[in-house]
Structure formats: structure tokens, C-alpha cells
């Protein structure tokens, strides 16, 4: 039933319907991407330079690792395009909070496996109708192959409106990623990557297949302070995005550039300040947008 309502609204949007209802329904149309943008708050941490005391006597110390972690991520985001549409560009201030529980280990000293679960809320100050809550479960594995790292991960997200009254979308994402580590200088490292993603969604209008490629350049100023420059391009092919209404297949392609300053004042605390700009082109005109973001975030870790 909701599918038909949304389809009707999308059709009306295509006909240039009133901007108020237009904005009301854009919140549904773009929930998938808004949720993705908020979850892109960087989870970066400077790799610690560590000393392994081994020597001529072959004495290598071993320790029981901490396999579990609880992580809190708080962020404030200023966005100049809350609805993610150039046709109704309005800024907003978004507060987000997520709590994540994670378990992981490294099998055969080679294959990293993990599982995690999290809950998150996002609150828009000027457009509270865009508020959403959600839960996510993830599992994945990665392994090095020569100088590359291959990883496969599954993310399942269920996103609801502000009061959990309405289910907005459920996304099941399977991602295959290839990345590498390239030393640029004594203090700079480049991490290029390529990803293939398949998303199964409910409603199935959001189901898509995506290709993404990009890289992160990290420059370390001190052992606890680093800057990251990230860029990636992405192309998404939607299976059936309200096609009976829009009369055309949806194909998005976009690019995102961001710069992050990353500070690790304590072993269990990371502070990031990120500025990002994203451009999305779409075969559906209402879903074309440019979005500039600034968001500081605070991550707290507790490992056990």
C-alpha cells in the first residue's frame, strides 16, 4: 500500500507538485542516502607505532587480546542540503548518536573476522520530520593477499521514523572490497580501494547494485595527530526505483571529497573534524544534488 502512495507522490513530484508535500516525501525518497551519509562519520584512527620486543634470544611476548569492544560515536553535522535534492535545498543541523558492540578476532594470524550490532538516532534541528532511528547488524571477514586486502562484509540496517512508528526502509548490503596500502613518504600513506555492493531493500525500490572506487591519503603529523584526504566515485544501478511511476530506470553516479583531521588524545578516545562535499547525478531529476557537510565527531572505545 505504502509503495503505491510513494509511487503516486513521486509521480506528482515529477509533475512539479507543491514544494511542501514535495519536501515531505523527499524525506522518504532519500532516507537510504541520508542514513548512509550519517554513517559515513569517519571511524578513522591513526595506526599506533608499536614496539615488539624480540631479540637475539627469540623472546617474543604474547598477550591475550581484547576481543570485544563497545563504541560510542557522537557527531554534530551541518549540512547545506538536508533533503539531498537541489530542488529543495535547505540547510540543517543534525545531531547523531550511535552505540556499537563489536566482537572480532584474527584467525590463523591472517583472516580478520568480526560481527557487530549497533543502534543509532539522528535528529534534525530545523526539519524534525527527517529524524530517524535505526539498528544495524554487521559481519565480515578480510584477509591480506600480497599487498592487497580483500574483504567481504554484510550490513543489515532497519531504519524507522522518529518514534519508531513507521518503518522507513530495511537494507541488506553485501560488499566486496579490495584495498591496498601504498607508502607515499615517511609520513604519508595512500589507501586506494575498489568496491562492489549489492543492496537488497524493503521496500524493494531501493534495491541496487553499486560500484565504487577511491582512496584515502593519510598524513601523520605526530603519533596522535593525522590528516586524511578522502575521495571516491560511485555508480548505482537501481533495480526498480518506483519505475511504474517514474517511467524510467534510476541510475545514480556521484563523487565525494572529504578532509578529516584526526586526533587521538587518549587510547580510548578519537576526535575527528571532517569537511565534505558530495555531488550526485541521477536519471531522476529530483534526486540530483550537491551537499556540503561539516561535522565534528567524538568516538569513545571500551575494549574488553
Amino acid at each position: 500500500m505504502r509503495h503505491w502512495i510513494v509511487s503516486l507522490i513521486v509521480a506528482l513530484m515529477g509533475l512539479g507538485f507543491s514544494s511542501e508535500s514535495y519536501g515531505q516525501e523527499l524525506k522518504t525518497q532519500t532516507i537510504e542516502q541520508r542514513a548512509q551519509h550519517l554513517q559515513e562519520a569517519p571511524a578513522l584512527a591513526i595506526p599506533h607505532e608499536e614496539f615488539i620486543p624480540a631479540g637475539e634470544d627469540g623472546l617474543v611476548l604474547l598477550r591475550r587480546p581484547k576481543l570485544f569492544a563497545i563504541e560510542s560515536n557522537s557527531s554534530y553535522q551541518f549540512t547545506d542540503n538536508a533533503f539531498l535534492s537541489d530542488k529543495q535545498k535547505t540547510h540543517d543541523h543534525v545531531l547523531s548518536q550511535s552505540v556499537l558492540v563489536r566482537a572480532g578476532t584474527r584467525i590463523a594470524q591472517r583472516v580478520e573476522v568480526f560481527a557487530s550490532g549497533s543502534g543509532f538516532i539522528s535528529r534534525y534541528r530545523l526539519n524534525p520530520g527527517l529524524d530517524f532511528n535505526g539498528v544495524t547488524g554487521s559481519a565480515g571477514a578480510s584477509m591480506p593477499l600480497d599487498r592487497w586486502v580483500l574483504s567481504l562484509r554484510y550490513d543489515g540496517s532497519a531504519i524507522y521514523d522518529r518514534n519508531f512508528n513507521a518503518h522507513l526502509v530495511t537494507l541488506h548490503t553485501l560488499e566486496f572490497n579490495v584495498s591496498a596500502t601504498v607508502g607515499v613518504s615517511r609520513t604519508a600513506v595512500l589507501y586506494p580501494f575498489f568496491s562492489v555492493l549489492r543492496v537488497w531493500a524493503n521496500p524493494d525500490d531501493f534495491s541496487n547494485t553499486a560500484l565504487a572506487a577511491g582512496g584515502t591519503l593519510m598524513h601523520s603529523f605526530t603519533p596522535t595527530l593525522a590528516a586524511f584526504l578522502q575521495g571516491h566515485v560511485e555508480s548505482k544501478f537501481y533495480d526498480d526505483f518506483f519505475e511504474p511511476s517514474t517511467l524510467e530506470a534510476r541510475h545514480d553516479y556521484g563523487a565525494r571529497l572529504s578532509a578529516t583531521l584526526n586526533w587521538v588524545p587518549l587510547e580510548w578516545m578519537t576526535v575527528n573534524v571532517t569537511a565534505a562535499i558530495a555531488r550526485n547525478e541521477s536519471t531522476i531529476s529530483t534526486l540530483r544534488y550537491t551537499n556540503a557537510l561539516v561535522f565534528p565527531s567524538l568516538q569513545l572505545f571500551f575494549r574488553f
Binding site: 608499536e50 604474547l62 598477550r63
Partner: protein, 330 residues
């Protein structure tokens, strides 16, 4: 005739055989009777592992800065060094290793105790530098058995082999991993351990780092140690306290051992200047600058300059202050 000769030969062989058996029996009995006596009289024994030579107890700290040491210690004894004490709950063999970041006692057999924490074979007690608490960790028994040139007793070796098998299983599932001790090193790659060893692994520096967990205390400790080394004309201590950076243009050049020879020569030149008399009654005074101290004696004032490098604080200059220049260094 031939039969008689054969009988005599047989009788002689029989008597010889009996004598041999009696000798073996008596040797074994003697050995058995000696075992408890040896065990009872076993004393503390220290051996440096690189040269497999005994180490006198008084040279434990000095030698530990150069090499790992195998300690064989009877039950109920206590061994103290670098401000730590190790007690034995059973006759124990353990390996000591000191780096600027961590001091380690790895138990090969027996059981040791430190501050109420105990470690058995396959385990190690680690004292991280600074104010860090001691940690009971494990050491990789498999890697140790593969790399060590120590002659281990068969039961010790068998026990460590069993520990190694169990550790392999834990390592496979990621339940055991290499222990890391954070540090800030001036080198990013290469043979940094040997380069750092030249300026950090010596008893004076290790002692100062371990005794002074905070930078302010370490600064004072280095200043006092340097003045004392001048006063006692201890060229070795003077050498170890002088900054290695004075002899290179870039920290990367510390990989080349030539700088150490230059520092040794420089320390000798300082020592022959006879600082013992002018500094006989010297006292230290802090200044507004964290990097310098005033050394005041009845005849002259001096300024001592210090500079932190790689977790240690080294001496960079020691110079007289001219009368009437307001304390400015020359």
C-alpha cells in the same frame, strides 16, 4: 693345556666383567648419592646468553644492558636489580631481558613471584618503563625454542614444547597475539634496534629511565648523574649521557656506528680535564628553562644543557658562565 688356558682366559674375563659391573654400580650409587647434595648446594647462577659465559652478580645490571641473562635460582631466593625484585617459589630458571621500553623475566622452569604476581614456565613478567604496572604475559615458547642457543634441561624443553603446542592453537584462533609496548622512535624502518642499542641500552641510561618515570624527574636525574660522572671522572658514564645527536646531522645517521666512536673520544677528552676538583662542592639549581640547569660550585658557575631524544634526556652542552654576564651561557 689349551683347555686350561681357555678356562683361565674365561675366568679373567669373568672377573673383569664383575669388576666393571661393580664399578658401574658404584659410580651410579655415587651419582645418586650426590644428586640431593648437588640440589641442596645449588646456588644462584647467572649466564649471559650471547657468549654463554657466567656473569658475576655485581655485573648483572651492566651485562643486562648488553645481553639477555639466564638466571638459575634456588627456591626462596630473591634477586634485585634495576629497582625490581624477583623471588622464587621453586627452583627456577628464567631469562632476563632489558630494553628501554620494558624489562622482562621469562620463566623457563619453576615459578617466580614479583609483588604478589606469579609466573610459571611459559609466562613472563614485564615491567614497562615509566609508571606502568607490571604485567604477567606469555612468551612465544615455539619461537624461543627455535631461536635460543641455550642448553635446556630435557624436562624444561619438553614442558616448553607442550606450552608451544597449546600456544599455537590459541594463536590460530586469535586468542593470543604479540604484546606491544608503545614508544616513539626516531626511525621508521631498518635496523633500528641496533642503532638504538648504541645510545639506549647501557646501565646508566636504563637505570635513569626506570628510576624516573616522569620527564621532570628524569631531567634532574640526568643532570645529577652527569655532574657526578664529571666529579668521579667516569668517562663511560659521561659518554653514555652525552646526546648522540651532537655527532650527526640527522637522526638517520645514527645507524652508522661511527658517531659512537666520536662520542667515546669526546667523553675521554672531557674526563681528562679534571673536573673533580672544581665540581667537588657543586650543587644543582633549576632555571626558568626546562632544558637547562645551573651547576654552582665555590669557584665557578656552569650551565648544563639537556635535550630529550627517543624517550631519554641527554646532555648537549656544559659550559662556564662568565662573571657579570647575567647568567648567559657562553
Amino acid at each position: 693345556m689349551q683347555v686350561n688356558r681357555h678356562d683361565r682366559r674365561c675366568a679373567r674375563s669373568f672377573i673383569l666383567l664383575l669388576g666393571l659391573l661393580a664399578l658401574i654400580h658404584s659410580e651410579r650409587a655415587l651419582a645418586q648419592s650426590n644428586e640431593p647434595a648437588q640440589a641442596a648446594t645449588q646456588e644462584l647462577e647467572l649466564r649471559r646468553t650471547d657468549l654463554n659465559r657466567p656473569v658475576p652478580l655485581l655485573e648483572l645490571e651492566k651485562t643486562l644492558a648488553e645481553s639477555s641473562i639466564l638466571v638459575m635460582m634456588p627456591k626462596g631466593e630473591t634477586l634485585s636489580f634495576y629497582d625490581v625484585s624477583i623471588g622464587t617459589l621453586a627452583r627456577s630458571d628464567f631469562l632476563l631481558r632489558a630494553t628501554p621500553e620494558v624489562l622482562v623475566a621469562a620463566v623457563l622452569s619453576g615459578e617466580i613471584q614479583v609483588n604478589g604476581e606469579t609466573a610459571e614456565a611459559g609466562e613472563a613478567i614485564a615491567w614497562p618503563a615509566g609508571a606502568g604496572d607490571i604485567e604477567v604475559v606469555e612468551f612465544d615458547a615455539g619461537k624461543f625454542l627455535a631461536a635460543s642457543r641455550l642448553e635446556l634441561r630435557p624436562d624444561t624443553k619438553a614442558h616448553l614444547e607442550a606450552v608451544a603446542q597449546w600456544q599455537e592453537r590459541l594463536k590460530f584462533w586469535g586468542l593470543l597475539e604479540q604484546a606491544h609496548f608503545n614508544r616513539t622512535a626516531p626511525f621508521k624502518d631498518g635496523d633500528e634496534d641496533s642503532a638504538r642499542q648504541r645510545y639506549l641500552r647501557n646501565p646508566v641510561v636504563l637505570h635513569l629511565i626506570r628510576q624516573h618515570p616522569e620527564a621532570e624527574l628524569l631531567r634532574r636525574g640526568v643532570a645529577e648523574a652527569f655532574v657526578e660522572a664529571l666529579r668521579t671522572r667516569d668517562a663511560q658514564a659521561i659518554e653514555w649521557l652525552i646526546s648522540p645527536l651532537l655527532f650527526v646531522d640527522d637522526p638517520d645517521q645514527l645507524r652508522d656506528p661511527e658517531w659512537a666512536v666520536a662520542r667515546q673520544d669526546f667523553a675521554f677528552l672531557i674526563m681528562i680535564d679534571h673536573w673533580d676538583t672544581p665540581l667537588a662542592d657543586a650543587t644543582l639549581e633549576s632555571t626558568d628553562e626546562a632544558s637547562s640547569w645551573i651547576v654552582r660550585s665555590s669557584t665557578q658557575q656552569y650551565r648544563l644543557w639537556l635535550e630529550p631524544f627517543d624517550g631519554m634526556i641527554f646532555v648537549t652542552a656544559f659550559e662556564p658562565i662568565d662573571e657579570g654576564d647575567g647568567g648567559a651561557a657562553e
